[in-house]
Symmetry: C2
Subunit: 108 residues, 2 copies
């Protein structure tokens, strides 16, 4: 990492903005779950261990506003809602992969 970049990070606080988007307790887990493809609300709740309805709704809404996921509603009975990662969301995969590699090596 160049010195120029580190100045940007610390000076303009890019990190803070990044954390606003994916720093939530469940954001990264949700993104992970969506990396394998579109999921329904229901499926996400099962995949992301211990998350409750309220937080899942909240994080998904937040992620939608930040252009990380796309929300598609189908007027069926019962209702069906699908969540899909956007390009912006999918491009987080390298970051998450690196973090995960680090976790595997050093956590515990």
């Amino acid at each position: 990492m160049s010195k120029k970049n580190s100045e940007k990070i610390l000076g303009k606080c890019v990190i803070q903005e990044i954390l606003d988007i994916i720093g939530g307790k469940w954001s990264m887990s949700i993104i992970f779950a969506l990396l394998h493809g579109t999921k329904r609300f229901n499926e996400l709740q099962k995949l992301v261990t211990n998350i409750n309805t309220r937080m899942l709704v909240k994080e998904l809404k937040n992620m939608e506003e930040n252009g990380i996921v796309i929300r598609e509603v189908f007027a069926t009975v019962p209702p069906t809602v699908q969540y899909t990662l956007t390009e912006k969301g999918r491009k987080l995969e390298p970051s998450l992969t690196e973090l995960f590699k680090w976790g595997e090596e050093f956590v515990n």
Copy 2:
């Protein structure tokens, strides 16, 4: 990312443990600052914009307990304390670099 890995992440909540270590508001900024080498408490406070004494102390202590940084005290007058990234800490650089690349491309 393999399906096997994603199960580990979501099932055993590795992400949560990672976020416990580097999910704090200032942790990543501090690590960034330390990537260029050992820094004194004083220097860190100048480099990490807008952080206050209490939080800097707290994060550094937390990072020390998690084996991210090493704290060295010199019995000089006035006192000198140096903080240095450990191997474990330095190996976070790829993750931070990826996150930063993403931020540069998509934030704003």
